[in-house]
Symmetry: C2
Subunit: 403 residues, 2 copies
């Protein structure tokens, strides 16, 4: 038996079964419908992304404002000379340089400036030599110099130190050098053009830096600081959850509900955040002092903390495989060790949480030493207990490393 | 007693001790000397980088050749119009688009083309509307459209799907749209300019693609394929080494020599290769069929293999902490389980090695099933043994997950 139900704006077909239950009849999904559904889910995801972190939306608006200012400046200027003239360099600078964090923006500005200057001076020299050498040797000199410098600069981009800090600068170096050395101008005119280009680039850079630093600034350093604190909390939750789940799961059903699973999986964020930490620490060093961060804030220490956290996360990953393993420890041993293990994990996670608070407030709390003492006592008790069960002592390694 | 020894180009001071041994006297390191030493070590590292992977050097030479061709083409062209003219677009295209792998280069080409076209058409429309609206509303229309589209395109770069594939395209979209809509030309002239610009870009793109595909091509897909195979071998070596070290280390000195340490640490490469795998799989899909890889090669499967390998690597990391742990299992249990555990790890690592060979040759060997059967038997035997030692059964989880 089928009947039609009309909701607000939707028509739904239901089939009622003999036993009273009803089933919604979904229409065959054609390609258009599927495309619509996809588009909807895409828009939905984008919306969630914006709602999750409104600063991303703010960043987009900032880019819009910066570009609009530059565009209108050149659109309304009476002496415009269109695309290909100097105005384009200001727009290009804003588009290319405006990054999400202040540090990244400043880093790109410095890279662009250094690359352009170095390449510009070299290229003017090569250009002058080529123009003095006559029609026959000129192209050879230009060709050879472009070949050597482009190859060398490209190679430098493979060197890890340069890749991390000056990748963009090396690209701009190659670009500027080729452009200038190829240009057909006389050297005097080159200086003139360089001045024009420089002034427009300075306008672009200034607008970028002013907007990025003054309007809702997003500091790479602060992001890194928060990421580390957030990850430490997640790590502590995962540890609690993992050990708790292992000992509570008395029925042995291996069933983990959604909420717990999400909390348990927190350590995975720690595993995957290495690249983000590295890049943020790299950008943070370019940022001026802001908030409670001085210019020489020890950003490298955050990377060390991150590495230690990943060490912990690997252990939690190994421990969490015990939850779904076929071979479970016998019930009597579990019960015997349950209290001690839980205490070790509870003290360890409270140490991690306290450390997170200490990092967040940048102040060493007196509570920390007490908590560490408590944790060490718990670990020692567990070790002694394990020694009294000689056959089981191997397991201690698994449990201890998590602490 | 001191004496001076002069080598080729170096002077060395040595102090001979009473017992006959001699000690080199290093001079106080001043800032210049330190800078020299640093520069030397930098050059040394760069040289090693090139010697390790000569294809990187080949890539640099390819970039040099491509740029030299484009530069000379425009340098020698009689009708040049210098920097700011159309010639710059060909050079810029080569500098920006030429990437290490064929896939990355093609991906950037497509991104650049799509972004430029989309933005160009939109911008010509907006430009036309603005020019029809008179002096008062024109700037408003341009400003509002630049603001909206730049913000939207910037936001789209945060969406993971777009970030992974079209990040560069979105940037080019913003750039082209702003440049064209700001330009002071009449629409007819815009089409003219677009044609010129397009033709120079096509020249740049063609040179890039020809050189990158025909001269010692470096395929992202092949790189990914090799990386996965290499990582599997490293994983197998690490597993062997870790278990072997644990049971051989009968003296309990916790001493691991350099050679073994290097082999043992192989799994760390697996932990750190996620980003590389993701990006290479992304580029590989753009590559035409080459060698034994068809156009629709299942690149995503490699990512799954990578994820499983990382799962194994986490376990090896956990196992390797047992090597340096204070709490070692009692000697009699170690001896009792030594043979079984070693067999499990040996069979598991030979399964991994066989899988690596299968992936490398893209052919399923008959040996694989046999090896897997052997591994399963070994695991079952170990499980039974562990069950007969009830108190120790917990440990099985640790050892088993490694397999």
């Amino acid at each position: 038996m089928s009947n039609m139900k009309e909701g607000p704006g939707t028509i739904e077909w239901r089939r009622r079964e003999a036993n009273g239950s009803s089933e919604t009849l979904t229409p065959e999904s054609g390609p258009i419908r599927r495309a619509c559904l996809r588009a909807c889910s895409f828009v939905n995801k984008a919306w969630e992304l914006g709602a999750d972190d409104p600063r991303k939306v703010v960043h987009c608006l900032k880019v819009g404002v910066a570009l609009t200012i530059v565009s209108l400046f050149y659109y309304m200027r009476p002496l415009y000379d269109g695309v290909g003239g100097t105005s384009m360099w200001a727009i290009m600078t804003v588009v290319v340089i405006f990054e999400y964090t202040v540090g990244a923006t400043i880093c790109k500005c410095l890279n662009r400036a250094t690359g352009t200057f170095l390449a510009g001076f070299l290229a003017v020299g090569v250009h002058w030599i080529a123009s003095q050498s006559g029609e026959r040797f000129g192209p050879i000199i230009v060709g050879v110099s472009v070949f050597i410098l482009a190859s060398a600069a490209t190679f430098s981009r493979f060197i890890p130190v340069i890749k991390a800090r000056f990748d963009y600068g090396a690209m701009i170096f190659i670009l500027t050098f080729s452009l200038v050395s190829v240009s057909g101008y006389r050297v005097e005119k080159l200086f003139d053009m360089a001045y024009q280009r420089l002034s427009t680039i300075v306008i672009g850079v200034c607008i970028c830096i002013i907007i990025t630093t003054l309007v809702c600034p997003i500091w790479a350093g602060e992001e890194l600081h928060r990421l580390i604190v957030r990850n430490m909390d997640k790590l502590a939750n995962s540890l609690d959850c993992c050990v708790g789940q292992f000992f509570n799961d008395s029925e042995g059903t291996n069933h983990i509900d959604k909420e717990v699973e999400k909390k348990l999986g927190g350590y995975k964020c720690v595993l995957n955040s290495k690249a983000a930490e590295d890049s943020m620490a790299g950008f943070a060093r370019w940022e001026p002092a802001h908030g409670c961060f001085t210019f020489k804030h020890p950003w490298k220490q955050y990377l060390k903390i991150g590495a230690s956290m990943r060490g912990c996360a690997y252990c939690i990953e190994a421990l969490s495989t015990c939850l779904i393993s076929e071979n479970q420890a016998p019930e009597f041993i579990k019960k015997h060790l349950s209290d001690l293990c839980s205490r070790v994990s509870a003290t360890a996670s409270s140490v991690i949480r306290e450390l997170a608070i200490n990092i967040e407030t940048m102040r060493k709390s007196t509570k920390l030493d007490f908590l560490i003492g408590e944790m060490n006592t718990a670990v020692e008790e567990l070790q002694n207990e394990l020694k009294s069960l000689p056959a089981i002592s191997h397991c201690a390694t698994g449990t201890k490393t998590g602490a």
